[in-house]
Amino acid sequence: MLAYIVRRLLIAVPTILLLIVASFFLMHFAPGGPFTSERPLPPAVLANIEARYGLDQPLWKQLWDYLYNIVVHFDFGPSFKFKDRDVNDIIAQGFPISLTYGSLSFLVATTVGVALGIAAAIKHNSWIDYFAVGLGIAAQALPNFIMGPILILTFTLWLGWLPGGGWNGGQWPYLIMPVIALATSYMGSIARITRSSMLEVLNSNFIRTARAKGLPTRTVIWRHALKPTLLPVVSYLGPVFVYVLTGSVFVDIYFSTGGLGQAYVGSALSRDYAVLLGVTILYGVLTVLVNLLTDLAYAWFDPKIRY
C-alpha cells in the first residue's frame, strides 16, 4: 500500500512538469499578450514593462526562471494585472473561499444525492422513486449558470431573505445560494448513478442469498448492498470533488464570492500568464491527489481490489 502511494506520487512529478510545460507554451502561443490593449502602448513603454517582468527574455529562459523560482523560493511569480498582489497572494485569497463553498456543495450534493438514489432504488417504481428520478433529472437540467440568476431573483429580489452576493468572510447567509447553485446539478447526477447502481446490486445473487437467509431489509441494504453500490459513485465523485474545490467561475460571477474560478478565467482572458499558470498547477496537483485518494478508496469499497 505504502509502496503504491509512493510510486503514484513519483509518477505525479513528471505529470505536473509536463502540465506546466504544455500550459506554458500554449499560453504564450495564444494571440495577444498581457499588455495588448485598446490603447496600444508606445514601444518604449512596452519595452520597460516587458523588461520588468522578464518577458523580453527568450521563452526557454522564462520557463526556466519560472520553474527555478517555484522550486527554490516557492514563488509563482507576479500578477501582470493586479500590481500589488502576486500569484501566491491571489491563490491564498481565492482558494480558501472556493474550498469552503466547494466542500459544502460537495457534502450537500453527495449526502442528498446518495440518499435520494438509495430511497428511489429501494422503493423502485413507487411515488418516491418517481419523485426522486424527477427531481434528479430536473436538478441535472439546471446548471449553475441557470440556477444562479433564478436563486438571486427568488431569494434576494422577491423574498428579500438573502443578500444577493458577496462573501463577508463566509457568513452563512452569503453561503446558502452559492452552495445550492453549485450542488444542484451534481446532486442530480449522483442520485441517478446511485439509483441505477443500487438497482443492479439489489438484483445480484449475493443480495438474494442475504435475503433468503432471512436478514432484515435494513441489514441487507446497509451491510451488503451499500458498499458495492457506491463504487461507481466514488469514481464519479473524484473529478467532481476537484471541480467544486477549485471553484466555479459561474458561482464567482453570479455571487461575487471572490473565489478562484473567476480569477482563473479572468487571468486567461487578460493573459495574466503567471496567475493562469499558477492556478493550472494548483488544479493539476489537486487532480493528481484526489485521483490517488479515489483509487485508495476503491480498496475500502471493494475488498477484491488490492494494492
Binding site: 495564444a30 494571440p31 495577444g32 499578450g33 499588455f35 495588448t36 490593449s37 485598446e38 490603447r39 496600444p40 502602448l41 508606445p42 518604449a44 513603454v45 520597460n48 514593462i49 523588461a51 520588468r52 494585472k81 493586479f82 500590481k83 500589488d84 498582489r85 491571489i90 485569497q93 481565492g94 444562479g148 440568476p149 438571486i152 431573483l153 434576494t156 429580489l157 428579500g160 443578500p163 444577493g164 452576493g165 458577496g166 462573501w167 464567482d252 460571477i253 453570479y254 461575487s256 464570492t257 471572490g258 473565489g259 473567476q262 480569477a263 479572468g266 482572458l269 487578460s270 493573459r271
Partner: protein, 542 residues
C-alpha cells in the same frame, strides 16, 4: 458611581457622534434638502480594479477610486469645468510652455503630513521612471513634459524631467511644446501626488489598506479582491468639513443582470442598465433610470491598408455602406438607452467642438438608401457582382446585435454580403492592430474633453489608427490644432473631410445609462467624461 460613569460615558459618546455626523443629521448647506442619516454610497463595478496606485492605475473603475483617495493639482466640477484641487491656481508664460502652480498650504496627507510640491515632483518622476514601467507613462508624453519621452526610452535620467518644486507650495512645469489645455490634463490620476516615504517603506504593497496614505477626501479602509473595496472619510482632508458622504463601497459584480437585480433589491445605489432594458426600467422607475451623453463613440472602420480589400479603396463604396446604416434602428431598438445617433467621429458633447453640417445627417433614411444604391452601382457593384466582405467584432451580446443589424441592412438595401466574425478581446485587438480584417468594430472614450482625443485616431501615424487611413490634409489640420488657441474650426474641417471620405462608419455615441437611487444627490450627469468625486455627492433622507 458605576451608573454615573456609564451615564456620562454614554453622554460623551452621543455628543461625539453628533459632532462627527454634523451633516448626517442635518440639511444640505446649499440646497437645504434633508440629509439621510446613513451617508453610504454603494455602487457596482464590472470588474476588479487593477490598482489604486495613481501612477499605475489604468482602468476606469480603478481611476474612480483613485480620484476619491488622491487629489491632483486641479479637479473637475459637476459640468466638467476646471476647479482648484491641491493647487489654488496657476500661471503660464506667453508661449504656454511653462506652467506654475500655486499649492494650498492646508492640504494634508491622511497621516497628517503636509502635501508639498515635492510630492508632485516625486509622483511625476515616478510615472516616467522605467523602473516603475507604468502602463500610463505615455500620458506624461502626451502632456509634453520636457524630457518625458527620453526618460521613458532610457536615454535620460528621471531627474531631467521638466518639473521642479520652487518651494513647498510652488510647482513649475516645463513643456517641450506649448499646450493650451495642459491644466485640464492635471485632473488625470497619473498626475496625482504620491507619498514617497510610504512607497519606499512598503514597495508594491503600499496600496494595501493597512499601509496606504493618501491626500484625497477618502482613505482606503478595506479591500477584498473580487468582492469589494471600501473607502471612508479622510479626517485630514483640507475640505473635509464640506464633505457629506461618509463611506463609499464599490462592489464587484461581473454580471450586469445580477447587478440590476441587486440594485432593485436595494443593495446598490447605482448600477449600469443592460443594453435594451432602459425603456422598461424607465417606465417602471422613472425617477431612477437616467441617461445622459458620454464622451465615447462606436464605429466600424474599413481596412484601408495596402493589404485591405480592393473594394474599400473606393470612397463611393465606403460612403454607400455608411449611408445605408439606419442609425435610428440601432439607437432606438437595439441599444435603447438614449444614445445619440452618430454622423461625426467626435461626439457632439465634446467641449469646444462645433458639429459640422454633415450632409448625411440632414437626409431622410429613404434618401440615404437611394444615394447608397447609386454610389454602389457607380462603383461597379450590383446583383451580378455583389460586394462581399468580413466584419469582425469582439465577442459580446450587444456588439453581436449591432453587427447582425448592420449586415441585414446592407443585405436588404444593397445586396451586400457581410459575413460576421467574432473574436475574444485580446485576439480581436491583435488582429485589428495587424490589419488582418476587412472591416472591424471600434469604440473610443476620450482621455480628456477635447476633440483631438478622438480625431487623433485618424492621423496617419497614430498607433491607434488601425484602419490605416491616410490623408495629408487631415494630418496637417490636426497638428495645427495642437498649438492653436482656437482649434474648433480645424476640427470641424477634419470632420467634413471624414464625412466625405468615410474611412470609418460612426454609428452612435455613448450614453451613460444608469439606475441611480433617487436619494443620491448631485450626480454629475453633465460631466461627459464622468469624472465624479464622492465628496461632491450626498444622500437625501427618503
Amino acid at each position: 458611581m458605576n451608573k454615573y460613569i456609564r451615564t456620562s460615558l454614554a453622554g460623551l459618546l452621543t455628543s461625539t457622534m453628533i459632532t462627527g455626523a454634523a451633516f448626517a443629521a442635518g440639511t444640505h448647506p446649499t440646497t437645504g434638502e434633508a440629509l439621510a442619516d446613513d451617508q453610504t454610497f454603494t455602487y457596482r463595478i464590472l470588474d476588479e480594479h487593477s490598482s489604486v496606485d495613481p501612477q499605475v492605475v489604468e482602468d476606469v473603475s480603478g481611476a474612480e477610486i483613485v480620484r476619491d483617495l488622491f487629489e491632483g493639482l486641479m479637479n473637475q466640477d459637476e459640468d466638467g469645468n476646471l476647479v482648484p484641487g491641491v493647487a489654488t491656481g496657476y500661471t503660464t508664460n506667453d508661449s504656454k510652455d511653462v506652467y506654475t502652480f500655486t499649492l494650498r498650504d492646508n492640504a494634508k496627507w491622511s497621516n497628517g503630513d503636509p502635501v508639498t510640491a515635492s510630492d508632485f515632483v516625486f509622483a511625476w518622476k515616478r510615472a516616467v521612471d522605467p523602473a516603475l514601467s507604468s502602463p500610463y507613462a505615455w500620458f506624461m508624453e502626451l502632456m509634453s513634459i520636457e524630457n518625458a519621452s527620453e526618460i521613458i526610452a532610457g536615454d535620460k535620467s528621471v531627474d531631467d524631467l521638466g518639473v521642479k518644486a520652487i518651494d513647498d507650495h510652488t510647482l513649475e512645469v516645463t513643456l517641450s511644446a506649448p499646450l493650451p489645455y495642459f491644466p485640464q490634463m492635471t485632473t488625470h490620476s497619473t498626475t496625482f501626488p504620491a507619498p514617497q516615504k510610504v512607497i519606499e517603506e512598503f514597495g508594491d504593497a503600499w496600496t494595501k489598506p493597512e499601509n496606504i496614505v493618501s491626500n484625497g477626501a477618502y482613505v482606503l479602509t478595506e479591500h477584498l479582491p473580487q468582492e469589494r473595496s471600501v473607502r471612508e472619510r479622510n479626517e485630514n482632508y483640507w475640505d473635509n468639513d464640506n464633505t457629506i458622504i461618509e463611506k463609499v463601497v464599490a462592489l464587484v459584480i461581473n454580471d450586469e443582470n445580477v447587478a440590476l437585480t441587486r440594485y432593485l433589491a436595494g443593495e446598490l445605489d447605482r448600477t449600469e442598465v443592460p443594453a435594451g432594458q432602459f425603456p422598461r426600467l424607465q417606465k417602471e422607475h422613472p425617477e431612477e433610470a437616467i441617461s445622459f451623453p458620454r464622451l465615447c463613440n462606436y464605429y466600424y472602420t474599413f481596412n484601408l491598408s495596402d493589404g485591405g480589400p480592393e473594394a474599400f479603396k473606393d470612397p463611393n463604396v465606403r460612403q454607400a455602406l455608411s449611408l445605408a446604416v439606419d442609425r435610428k434602428i440601432i439607437t432606438e431598438n437595439i441599444m435603447a438607452g438614449g444614445q445619440p445617433q452618430a454622423y461625426t467621429f467626435a461626439p457632439a458633447a465634446t467641449a469646444g467642438f462645433d458639429v459640422p453640417d454633415v450632409e448625411m445627417a440632414s437626409m431622410s433614411q429613404a434618401e440615404r438608401d437611394e444615394l447608397a444604391k447609386e454610389l454602389l452601382a457607380a462603383a461597379g457593384y450590383g446583383p451580378d457582382n455583389p460586394l462581399s466582405f468580413e466584419m469582425v467584432y469582439n465577442t459580446s451580446e450587444a456588439h453581436k446585435k449591432v453587427a447582425v443589424a448592420l449586415s441585414q441592412m446592407w443585405k436588404q438595401k444593397l445586396g451586400v454580403n457581410a459575413e460576421l466574425a467574432n473574436m475574444e478581446w485580446k485576439i480581436f485587438l491583435e488582429e485589428r492592430g495587424n490589419q488582418n480584417f476587412d472591416m472591424a468594430r471600434g469604440a473610443w472614450c476620450g482621455d480628456y474633453n477635447e476633440a483631438s482625443t478622438f480625431l487623433d485616431l485618424l492621423q496617419s501615424d497614430s498607433g491607434y489608427n488601425d484602419g490605416k487611413y491616410n490623408n495629408a490634409r487631415v494630418d496637417e489640420l490636426l497638428s495645427e490644432a495642437k498649438t492653436s488657441d482656437d482649434a474648433a474650426p480645424l476640427y470641424t474641417e477634419v470632420e467634413r473631410i471624414i464625412a466625405q471620405e468615410t474611412p470609418v462608419i460612426p454609428i452612435y455615441h455613448y450614453a451613460g445609462v444608469y439606475m441611480m437611487d433617487s436619494d443620491v444627490g448631485n450626480w454629475p450627469v453633465k460631466n461627459v467624461e464622468q469624472n465624479w468625486y464622492s465628496k461632491n455627492l450626498y444622500k437625501t433622507a427618503e
